[in-house]
């Protein structure tokens, strides 16, 4: 049995997700601010964290965007193979939702049509859409409003298998150092390890959708995440780079099998303005 989902329902859902994500941080991020406030030694760092909390409250109550960079919309879709999208194309519907959401929400248009001529498209479209086809008849849409400043500090490397786990750890910490104050710490890191060049990069984005502060289901990877988080927070960069203990709020890893020759590692750098929302239609 297939289930029909009309494109207007998809566009409407994406519109609402975009508008909400930009004014209302998810509870996992707010809880992470509170946790950090209990451990941060730096007075300047604590002050920044408190202002970020105030900013979140003001954004939510006055519906002012949390950050002026309302991002490029990155959208992960889990499309049940028994879903039949009617009335048009899936990706066009998502972009229509972005268009409407960014206009109605008074959100910033931050996308240029071509990387060369740099002319703004005016409506923040297109987004970047990843679709996984899954069993069943559900349609899950996850969106992230991804800021440019932190995205610009994201990195990729292809390690040798001999470089191994120590090589992975060194690279991730190196990414935190190079991101530094530019990427608006406290940072959240999505790390994709394994697969191929593009698979690692996509995993690094997808890893960011896991609830902040929740354990990784794989105990070995969970231990690695905690070790890396501790290392990152010993760097001293701190909130906004003013010095302190809260350089990162979380490091999330996703892995995938890879070729005998390869050890791909991709790190997506996300700022504290971690604006993500999801819905299942």
């Amino acid at each position: 049995m297939t289930r029909d989902v009309h494109v207007s329902a998809i566009a409407d859902a994406v519109k609402k997700l975009c508008m909400e994500a930009n004014v209302s941080l998810e509870p996992d991020v707010l809880r992470a601010f509170d946790r950090a406030l209990t451990t941060e030694r730096s007075p300047a760092g604590r002050q920044v964290l408190q202002i970020l909390k105030d900013n979140a409250e003001l954004a939510r109550t006055k519906r002012i965007p949390y950050c002026q960079d309302t991002g490029m919309v990155v959208c992960f879709v889990e499309l049940g193979q028994d879903v039949h999208v009617t009335g048009g194309g899936l990706e066009a519907a998502i972009n229509e939702g972005i268009r409407q959401g960014y206009k109605e929400g008074y959100l910033r248009a931050s996308i240029v049509k071509s990387p060369f001529d740099r002319v703004n498209t005016g409506d923040n479209t297109p987004g970047v859409v990843h679709v996984d086809v899954t069993p069943g008849a559900a349609l899950k849409i996850m969106i992230m409003a991804k800021g440019g400043g932190c995205e610009n500090r994201s990195r990729y490397t292809m390690l040798t298998p001999a470089a191994g786990l120590p090589g992975v750890k060194d690279f991730v910490i190196e990414c935190v150092k190079t991101a530094g104050p530019d990427a608006c710490p406290p940072l959240i890191l999505g790390v994709g390890i394994g697969g191929t060049f593009e698979k690692a990069a996509i995993l690094s984005k997808k890893a960011l959708f896991r609830e902040l502060g929740s354990p990784n289901p794989d105990p070995m990877v969970d231990a690695l995440e905690k070790e890396l988080l501790d290392k990152a927070n010993r760097l001293g960069i701190g909130p906004q780079g003013y010095g302190g203990d809260t350089t990162s709020l979380g490091i999330h890893i996703l892995t995938y099998p890879c070729h005998i020759t390869s050890l791909p590692v991709a790190v997506t750098i996300e700022c504290h303005a971690h604006r993500h929302k999801e819905v299942t239609l």
């Binding site: 202002i51 900013n55 949390y66 002026q68 959100l107 703004n120 400043g149 990427a183 780079g241 303005a273």
Partner: protein
Amino acid sequence: MSVTAGSDGIKDITTPLTDADVQSLKAGDRVRISGVIYTARDAAHGRLLPLIEKGEKLPIDVKGAIIYYTGPTPPQPGQVIGAIGPTTASRMDKFTPALLKLGLKGTMGKGYRGQPVKDALREYRGVYFGAIGGAGAVLSRHIKTAEFVAYEDLGTEAIRRLEVEAFPAIVINDCHGGDLYQDGQKQYARE
């Protein structure tokens, strides 16, 4: 003198800034900025540079001024401006020394500046302020008026004249070689 120390340890700054004002500011100083500041980021700087190179008049008088690297969200009905936090300053590094040479006194953004900018801050007596990245809603409350001055076609990247009141910032790089990012990290790094 347009820099005065508040009783809470925060320095109050009123634009425009003089050399003496800049010299009194040290990396790590918390400040509140009031008066007129200008917004400009990547695309606007791209248009200013050819004018500077040809010796032509700029659409804003940069003498004593502060340029804020930001691209705000559009105002909702009844609002002066939308969210207005800082963008990454290093993308403007290419343009900053030439503007400091013309008398620009302050830039404001977030993130590291390159060595040529730090050198220019010393040579021409300028200061780089950090605003809190991602605190766009809170910072919008400190903007009293906003109007387009130039390049309105650039939308969010246009040059705007802002009247600000007690806009909170911190001195990252001063004109004496001080660097809050270096000092702060050194103080809190644990090995």
